[in-house]
C-alpha cells in the first residue's frame, strides 16, 4: 500500500538506528492487531516486516507468483525430511494476507486445558467474549451462507447429511467478497479483511513507522532487557541479505513473527536458558483425499472454505482428534499434493475439475503425550523444523483417512484417491477397509500444514513456558510475544481469530507496562 510511513528495500540503502517506544517484529495477525491498539493510544511504534509491501495491485491470481512472493521460502517451507509441507505467509500482513479467511472463536475445550495444565486461569469463554466480539466487528467476521458455498464445500454437506455427521457453516473475515476463490494468492478485490486492509492502515494512520523487507536477525539482550533489535534489509528478488542494517532501540520489544520464525529469532539471540524454545511446535498436520465426481466440482473457484465438520474432534482422552474441511484445487497446490509421477500424475491432474480435496486437520498437542515438532536452527540461522509422527498421530491419520473416504463416497464420489505413495482407489463403502492394510505417517502419504502454533508457549511455570500469562518473557522484562507461538497447544480450529483476540488482550498488558516505565 502507499503510505508515507512505509519504508522498503527501495529506500533502505544505508544502515540506520531508530528509537521508539515499542518495536513489533512481524505484521501478521498478532503484530498488526497489537500495533493498531498501541498507536491509537498514542505510543510510538516501529514495525519490522521481513516480507514485501505487496497489496491488491500485486495479487494477480497467478499461483506461481503468489507462492514465490507471498509464502515462506517461496512456498517450499517444509520439515527437514520434507514429509510435511508448510504453507505460511511471508508478506505484509503475514498469513492473514494469504489465508482462506476461516475464523473460529477459541473452543472452550481448549481453553479449559490451557487453564488446567498451563495455569492460564483468566482464559475463559466469558472473559474472552468481549475481545472476540471486538475483533469480529473490526474484521467483519460473519457466517458464509451455505447456499453460496462452492461445490467443493458442498461435498462435506452432502456426505455429512447422509452419514448423520455434524457440520456447520464457517465464518469468514470478508466484506464485499466476490466469491472468486483466490484468497490464498492475496485477495484480488480487496474484500478480505486481513491486516493489510484493517489494522495496518489503522496503525500507519496513527503514526506507526513500518519497515518492510527488514528481517529481525537478533535481539541483543542483557540479563533482563532487550537492548537492541538488529534487523537487516532483504533483497525481495534474490531474498538475500543486503548488509544494510536497521537497528531499533525500544522500551518494549514484541516478537510477533509467528511460530517457526519467532522461536528461530529467540534461538539466534541465545534466549533459550530452559531449553524449551522451539519445542512443542504444533502444525495441525493435514492429510487429504481427492474425491472424484461425475459432475464438475471446480474447487478452484468460490470461497475456499465455508463448511467444516467437527464430528471427530473429540475422540476421547487417548486419541488425537481432527476436524474436516476442504482445500481449494488450484493446479500447483493440487499437483504438489499428489504422490505419483509420469503419465499417472498427468491423468490424475486432467481430472482436476471433477475433484474435491477433502482434508482432515489434526489437533496436535492436546493429547497429554503429544509433543508436536521442534524448531531449531540451520547453520545459516534459518529455521529447521522436525516433526516426528508419534504412534498416536499415526493412529489418527489412519482413522481420518477412513473418515474422509467414507465422507467422499457418501457424498456421491465415484472414486477417491488417498495421497499415499502406493494408495488404494476406493469406489464404495466396502472398499474403505482397504485402507486398513496401508501404512500411515511421515513419507507414507502427503502431510501438510497451514496452521503453525507453539514454540514459545505461555504459562505460569517458567520451567515449561517462555512467556507468562501477561505475554511477557519470564526473565527479559521488556520482551513480549504476541502471535500463535504462545499457544500451549494447538486449537482444533483454524487459529487466526484466536491470535487476533489474544493480541487485543496483550495490548492491555503492554499498555499497563508502558504506564509503569
Amino acid at each position: 500500500m502507499n503510505h508515507p510511513n512505509i519504508f522498503d528495500y527501495t529506500q533502505l540503502k544505508q544502515t540506520r538506528d531508530i528509537s521508539c517506544t515499542v518495536c513489533i517484529i512481524g505484521s501478521g495477525a498478532g503484530g498488526a492487531t497489537l500495533a493498531a491498539q498501541l498507536t491509537q493510544k498514542g505510543h510510538d511504534v516501529v514495525m519490522l516486516e521481513a516480507g514485501s509491501n505487496r497489496y491488491v495491485k500485486h495479487f494477480d491470481m497467478d499461483e506461481s507468483t503468489a507462492f514465490t512472493n507471498l509464502y515462506q521460502e517461496g512456498g517450499l517451507r517444509a520439515t527437514e525430511d520434507l514429509s510435511l509441507s508448510i504453507l505460511q505467509g511471508a508478506t505484509l500482513g503475514g498469513s492473514t494476507t494469504i489465508n482462506w479467511t476461516t475464523c473460529f472463536r477459541t473452543p472452550e475445550r481448549v481453553l479449559s486445558i490451557w487453564r488446567d495444565r498451563y495455569g492460564l486461569t483468566d482464559f475463559t469463554e466469558e472473559y474472552l467474549k468481549p475481545y472476540f466480539e471486538r475483533i469480529e466487528k473490526r474484521l467483519n467476521i460473519n457466517p458464509w451462507p451455505e447456499v453460496i458455498a462452492n461445490e467443493n464445500n458442498k461435498v462435506i454437506v452432502r456426505g455429512a447429511k447422509k452419514l448423520d455427521w455434524e457440520y456447520s457453516v464457517l465464518r469468514r473475515n470478508v466484506k464485499g467478497c466476490a466469491n472468486s476463490g483466490f484468497c490464498g494468492m492475496g485477495c484480488p478485490v480487496d474484500a478480505k479483511q486481513g491486516m493489510l486492509l484493517t489494522t495496518i492502515p489503522d496503525a500507519l494512520n496513527a503514526g506507526m513507522r513500518l519497515f518492510c523487507n527488514t528481517q529481525a536477525l537478533q535481539l541483543n539482550t542483557s540479563s533482563t532487557r532487550v537492548e537492541r533489535v538488529v534487523g537487516e534489509v532483504i533483497d525481495p528478488t534474490t531474498k538475500k541479505k543486503t548488509g544494510v542494517r536497521v537497528n531499533v532501540n525500544a522500551k518494549i520489544v514484541v516478537s510477533a513473527c509467528g511460530a517457526i520464525n519467532g522461536p528461530a529469532l529467540f534461538l539466534r539471540s541465545g534466549l533459550n536458558e530452559k531449553n524449551i524454545v522451539g519445542k512443542r511446535t504444533f502444525l495441525h498436520p493435514v492429510i487429504g483425499v481427492a474425491a472424484e465426481f461425475d459432475s464438475p466440482i471446480n474447487g478452484f473457484y468460490g470461497a475456499p472454505q465455508s463448511i467444516s465438520s467437527h464430528q471427530f474432534i473429540d475422540r476421547g482422552p487417548d486419541k488425537i482428534g481432527y476436524f474436516l474441511e476442504v482445500a481449494p484445487t488450484h493446479p500447483i497446490l493440487a499437483s504438489t499434493a499428489a504422490s505419483s509421477f509420469g503419465k499417472n500424475q498427468q491423468l490424475f491432474m486432467k481430472r482436476l475439475s471433477n475433484l474435491s480435496f477433502l482434508i482432515a486437520i489434526h489437533a496436535d498437542g492436546i493429547h497429554h503425550k503429544d509433543e508436536g515438532g521442534v524448531v531449531s536452527l540451520r547453520p545459516s540461522g534459518r529455521p529447521k523444523i522436525t516433526y516426528p509422527t508419534s504412534p498416536t498421530l499415526t493412529e489418527a491419520f489412519a482413522h481420518s483417512h477412513k473418515s474422509l473416504a467414507q465422507l467422499s463416497i457418501a457424498a456421491g464420489a465415484k472414486r477417491c484417491h488417498t495421497m499415499h505413495v502406493q494408495g488404494p482407489v476406493i469406489q464404495n463403502q466396502s472398499d474403505i477397509s482397504k485402507l486398513d492394510t496401508h501404512e500411515y505417517g511421515a513419507l507414507k502419504h502427503g502431510v501438510f500444514s497451514a496452521h503453525q502454533m507453539g514454540g514459545l508457549p505461555m504459562g505460569r511455570d517458567p520451567n515449561v513456558s517462555v512467556v507468562n500469562p501477561q505475554f511477557r518473557h519470564h526473565t527479559i522484562e521488556n520482551l513480549y510475544v504476541v502471535d500463535g507461538s504462545v499457544f500451549p497447544t494447538a486449537l482444533g480450529v483454524n487459529p487466526s481469530q484466536t491470535i487476533y483476540t489474544l493480541s487485543l488482550l496483550a495490548s492491555e498488558h503492554i499498555e499497563e507496562k508502558l504506564q509503569q516505565i
Binding site: 466476490a178 509421477f341 500424475q345
Partner: protein, 163 residues
Amino acid sequence: MTTSLLALNLQETKNITPKAPLQLLNEKEYSILVAVADILLPHNPPFPSASQIDIAGKVDAVMATAGPEQQEEFRLVLFLIENPSVGALLSLQLAPLSQLDKKEKNQRIEDWRTGIPQLRSAFKALNGICNGAYYADKKVIQIIGYDGPPEAIIAIRKAQGYQ
C-alpha cells in the same frame, strides 16, 4: 565392486545445453534435472514434456532464491539420483540416470519414490518442485481444464487499474 563403482562414477552425464543462463545449477546439474523432469512429466499428448517447456530452467530460477542449505541439499539430490553407485545399490542399474533408456529411468525414479525414507524425501523434493513449475505453465493448465481467474474478477481489477 568399489573399483568398478568408482569407474562408473566417472561416466559422463549426457550433456544438455541450457535454454537460458543458469542462476544456480551448473550445466551438469541442469542436464540431470532435465532428464529427471522428463520422467516425472513426460511427453504425453496433449501434455508437453517438461523439457519442451524448460521446467529445469524454471526450477533453477526458483532454487536460486532458496536458502543455502536447501540449495546444497537440492544439488546433492541431483548428484545422488544421477550417480550410478547409488543406482546400483537400489536396482543394479549401473549407468548414470541421464544415459538410461526410458524404462530404466522410470524404474530408478520409482525406486526412489517407494524406497527408504531418505530416497522418498529426495523424490518428494524433485517431484514437488518440478510439478509446481509444470502446472504453472499456461498451456498445461488449459489441458487440465483450469481456465484461470474468472473474467468477472479480471474486469473488476482492470476497472481499478490492476492486471
